[in-house]
């Protein structure tokens, strides 16, 4: 069997397993008529009804989807954007400067060992309820993996590569852009992958506590009014969003770190 054919088979099996799982759930749910575990068909119908039955002008999105899913995604997107910018710049500065890391590292390890969930109240006090608080809260939680990994990546640039830069008298700008940033990128992406999955968790936590819109808000509403199918619709939606976000990061990483995979494959 050729490699392409093997890959296709693997891909097919993945969907077969997923479909089999859904079918088993469907059968079990219809047999038991459990109020807590609605069948997947009902969940999908609910998702369609709630969010994707809108007018063509709004890309089939309903007003509930526009009013809740989009704000949630915006919060995650902004928090990720801030974390990437801050994590990369601060990570490289801390990783390359013993002075800065000497001052900041203890503080950093203190900060990253705080569970963000325990700090919700602090963030509410600091930022009041609303978008600012939610974005700050998500950012606080997801900054650490990116920051700590980037620090590590910037700190452990191969000494021969650094000496090469010195001997060939690369400019400060070149050292940063052509050496330190690319050398730190593999670790940065490892951190980013952790942060992306963490971002959705923190988004829901932030929206459960006194938000007026968002996926977490919808789920909170649904569960407090015993609309269990709607709650399940939110759960499945979160799963899909997590999958898509992760796939997007992997796609970017695949493209940006092509050299890394190539070099590593040959080294092994």
């Amino acid at each position: 069997m050729s490699r392409a054919a093997a890959a296709t088979t693997r891909w097919l099996w993945r969907w077969v397993v997923l479909a089999a799982g859904a079918l088993a759930w469907q059968g079990w749910a219809e047999w038991r008529h459990s109020a807590f575990f609605p069948p997947p068909s009902a969940i999908v119908a609910e998702m369609y009804h709630l969010w994707f039955s809108g007018s063509a002008r709004h890309l089939a999105l309903t007003s509930s989807a526009i009013g809740n899913i989009l704000p949630s995604l915006a919060r995650v997107g902004i928090a990720l954007g801030i974390s990437i910018v801050v994590g990369l710049t601060a990570g490289i500065a801390i990783g390359r400067s013993p002075v800065i890391s000497g001052y900041l590292e203890p503080l950093l390890h203190f900060g990253r060992s705080l569970p963000p969930v325990a700090l919700v109240t602090v963030f509410i006090v600091l930022f009041k309820l609303g978008d600012q608080m939610e974005i700050a809260f998500i950012t606080f939680g997801i900054l650490w993996p990116i920051l700590v990994n980037t620090i590590d990546g910037a700190r452990t640039v191969d000494p021969v590569q650094v000496e090469t830069a010195r001997v060939f008298r690369l400019t400060a700008r070149q050292r940063l852009i052509k050496l330190i940033v690319p050398a730190a990128l593999p670790k940065f992406f490892a951190g980013l992958r952790i942060s992306v999955s963490l971002a959705l968790v923190l988004m829901v936590v932030a929206e459960l506590t006194g938000s007026t819109d968002g996926i977490g808000y919808l789920m909170n509403n649904a569960s407090s009014s015993y609309q269990l199918t709607a709650l399940w619709a939110g759960i499945v939606l979160l799963g899909i969003l997590g999958y898509v976000l992760n796939a997007a990061v992997l796609g970017v990483e695949h493209f940006v770190l092509a050299w890394h995979r190539g070099a590593r494959r040959l080294a092994s």
Binding site: V167, L185, W259, A267
Partner: protein, 280 residues
């Protein structure tokens, strides 16, 4: 006085040599560490390299020959003594007009840059135009026999080809002094011979001054105009031998010459710390 003319001639010759010494090391010592735990790696090294000369430094591992090279490259600061490259004293900074080929090519080339970009990278200081840098890089790659690999990545090439890229990067800068630190230590024997011949052709075509550090006795004699033998801990220069072998050199013909065989044996004895043959 009969000796005066000869003496005068020698002095004139000496001043002329002084003028064109590309590398001049006087009484170089380097010790690692500070305080009580210092380790003297090299002690009282003096040597010179003139324009267009290939000087090979040979010695067993641990004799401090790489330390000497790192001091010249400005990667380490000598504890004592002075180093002049093209007349200018080397202190904390890496001197002008110097290029280095490291042993570990796979770590010295940047895997995220194409071969062409790796070679062009150091040219930013001297050439403003990106297109010009690209052309210079391609020329250098052509010189080392890698004309059509500029678009590839270093890790897509064999070890010998990667070291050629590192050499291309060094010569693209048109250095007055090229330092090579065990450059062919990690390639197979056939490739090694090809690369030795490449070094000889660089000197022939570009009159480049090259300091080659190696532990390979054959290589030091085959490529060198002079062989400097370092021994001991701390490392000291135990011999500075002129290599009188005809140019151009040939991997087979040169190595079967009696002069090559004798010199090789002598260097071998010196490296092992034995007394040179009685004939000298």
């Amino acid at each position: 006085m009969p000796g005066t003319a000869a003496l005068g001639g020698w002095q004139a010759d000496a001043t002329q040599r002084e003028r064109i010494a590309v590398l001049e090391i006087t009484d170089l010592s380097h010790s690692y560490g500070r305080g009580g735990g210092t380790h003297l790696a090299v002690d009282g090294i003096s040597l010179k390299a003139e324009k267009g000369e290939i000087v090979s430094i040979v010695g067993a591992s641990g004799c401090g020959k790489s330390t000497v090279l790192r001091c010249i490259a400005g990667l380490q600061r000598p504890t004592r003594g002075t180093i002049r490259v093209n007349g200018a004293v080397v202190d904390a900074a890496v001197p002008d007009g110097l290029a280095v080929v490291f042993q570990d090519y796979s770590r010295s080339l940047y895997p995220w840059l194409s071969v062409r970009d790796n070679v062009a990278l150091p040219l930013v200081r001297t050439q403003a135009s990106r297109a010009q840098r690209g052309r210079t890089a391609e020329d250098a790659l052509q010189t080392v026999g890698l004309g059509d690999t500029g678009h590839r990545y270093p890790w897509q090439l064999s070890g010998g080809m990667q070291q050629r890229v590192a050499i291309a990067r060094a010569i693209a800068c048109e250095p007055v002094l090229l330092l090579m630190d065990e450059p062919f230590g990690s390639v197979d024997a056939q490739t090694r011979e090809d690369l030795e011949d490449l070094v000889l052709s660089l000197r022939r075509d570009r009159e480049m001054t090259i300091l080659l550090v190696t532990h390979d006795i054959d290589e030091s004699v085959y490529t060198g105009d002079r062989v400097i033998v370092m021994t001991g801990t701390p490392g000291r220069v135990s011999a500075d031998l002129a290599v009188q072998l005809p140019q151009p050199r040939d991997q087979i013909a040169t190595k079967e010459l009696p002069a090559f065989v004798n010199l090789r044996a002598e260097v071998g004895r010196l490296v092992r710390g034995q007394r040179a043959a009685a004939t000298t």
